[in-house]
């Protein structure tokens, strides 16, 4: 069982195994955050249950442009740290002959990758990546960033399930924001399903429950649409 630990709990006596969510002092390994203890012979880490998104290089994040400057954009990534997307990190073929604010303006949402983080936590983004794009359609939903791994599921199983059952596009930001695109009502079903996963991820048989939930919601939707067509 993955045991619950709180800051200061002794989790190992071998500093070489210290992993995420731990710290070493006096040759001993302690938890530094509230979370679940994931311990093997070679590693000890704490799976967080709460907490803000702290950017990490390589992460895919979803953000909203808050400021346009002469050489790029300030992007809110739902973190204690705003990020900066420099103009040269926007794919060139899409930005030719446009002013900075014609490419992306205040309020625009983007899917981007964390390119660099300096010691003062100045975060730089790039959009030169095939997953990255401005978000002009669809919807973004927000969940506790610590729950993102649960929404993704084991090797992406949960996301695959949602995509397959609903036929919609999904991109998951590590910062707790998830982009959904497709039929508006199906997107609403996916949003509700994501909230259920967020709340109940640790419980048994979740995948089955989510499958049942989506199927029943889809059924309702199809019935309704059938009736509307019959009436018109």
């Amino acid at each position: 069982m993955r045991k619950l630990v709180i800051p200061g709990d002794l989790v190992a006596t071998n500093p070489r195994v210290a992993g995420y969510g731990t710290y070493v002092e006096g040759g001993k390994v302690y938890a530094k955050i509230l979370g679940l203890l994931d311990k093997t012979d070679t590693s000890v880490r704490i799976i967080p249950l709460k907490g803000k998104y702290i950017p990490s290089v390589g992460d895919i994040v979803i953000g909203i442009v808050r400021e346009v400057t002469g050489n790029g954009w300030v992007v809110d990534i739902h973190s204690p740290y705003q990020a900066f997307l420099p103009l040269p990190e926007y794919p060139e073929n899409k930005s030719r002959n446009l002013k900075v604010n014609e490419i992306l303006d205040i309020g625009d949402a983007v899917i981007a990758r964390v390119l660099n983080i300096d010691p003062k936590m100045k975060v730089t983004l790039t959009m030169k990546d095939k997953v990255c794009k401005p978000v002009r359609v669809g919807r973004i939903v927000a969940i506790n960033p610590a729950r993102i791994p649960r929404v993704i599921g084991k090797k992406g199983s949960m996301i695959r399930l949602l995509k397959a059952e609903l036929g919609i596009q999904i991109i998951v930001g590590q910062n707790g924001l998830i982009w959904l695109n497709g039929d508006r009502r199906k997107v609403s079903i996916a949003e509700e399903a994501i909230y259920i996963i967020e709340a109940e991820a640790h419980t048994e048989g979740l995948t089955d429950r989510i499958t049942v939930f989506i199927k029943s919601k889809k059924g309702e939707l199809e019935n309704e649409r059938g009736e509307t067509q019959a009436n018109s």
Binding site: D9, K32, P80, M121
Partner: protein, 245 residues
């Protein structure tokens, strides 16, 4: 306080029937507010206190940011109806001092260096005050910080010891606080179930060095009991999350 001092210890017991080394009843609940990132409700005797933590979050205005670590703010506030005579809303000198020493009790335990340029705000509202609000507030703040997922070296646990009628007593209530000879609030860093250091220490009154040593031992005993209640509050809130592999 110019009323006549009542006898505070009668037949070896305190006015509320407690023995010298006994805490008031204590109740803690973690995660009780929706909007806050972390929160806690505590009752210690007649004290009723709510604590909330926001952050790490952006600091405004920007000149208050620290490029190397998070800035901690602690606001101790008493509701106007929390005491017998209505308290005028807003900070007074007493609450400003309590806020300062309480912040300093938590700062060395919070891993501020992990969150440069950010801010962690701790807000504590005293809804009903008895005695020992500052220690009760710290106990709540500490649980709220853990509930918020903030990285810390351990947990902070606080309790006061008073000297009344020449006797050291743990966790003084109102009368003991008003008429006692001395009051010593302590806070400790507890790590892996052991008291490691002192993070808050104040005193007013008069005690011998020998008494002070005994006071510390008494406070440590009380703190270990409070720590168990703090820990239990977090476990109750999150135990259902424990995963079966």
């Amino acid at each position: 306080m110019n009323e006549e001092k009542p006898k505070l210890i009668v037949d070896g017991k305190r006015l509320d029937g407690r023995s010298f080394d006994e805490l008031r009843p204590i109740k803690i609940e973690a995660g009780i507010l929706k909007r806050a990132d972390g929160s806690c409700y505590i009752e210690m005797g007649k004290n009723k206190i709510v604590a909330a933590v926001y952050g790490p979050r952006e600091v405004h205005p920007k000149h208050l940011q620290d490029p190397s670590k998070a800035v901690i703010r602690y606001r101790y506030n008493m509701a106007p109806f929390s005491v017998e005579e209505r308290k005028r809303p807003g900070p007074d000198r007493r609450s400003i001092e309590i806020s300062k020493v309480s912040k300093e009790a938590l700062e060395p335990v919070i891993m501020k260096e992990l969150f440069p340029r950010s801010g962690i705000d701790i807000f504590v509202e005293v809804l009903q005050a008895d005695a020992g609000t500052r220690t009760a507030c710290l106990n709540a703040a500490s649980v709220a910080l853990i509930d918020a997922g903030v990285a810390m070296r351990g947990i902070v646990t606080a309790v006061a010891v008073a000297k009344v009628d020449g006797q050291l007593v743990l966790d003084p209530m109102k009368e003991e606080d008003n008429y006692g000879e001395a009051d010593v609030p302590f806070a400790f860093l507890i790590r892996s179930g052991k008291i490691e250091s002192i993070t808050l220490l104040q005193m007013d009154g008069r005690m011998t060095a020998e008494e002070l040593k005994k006071a510390l031992e008494l406070a440590k005993k009380g703190a270990m009991e409070i720590y168990a209640v703090q820990r239990d509050a977090i476990m109750r809130k999150y135990r259902s999350e424990e995963e079966v592999e």
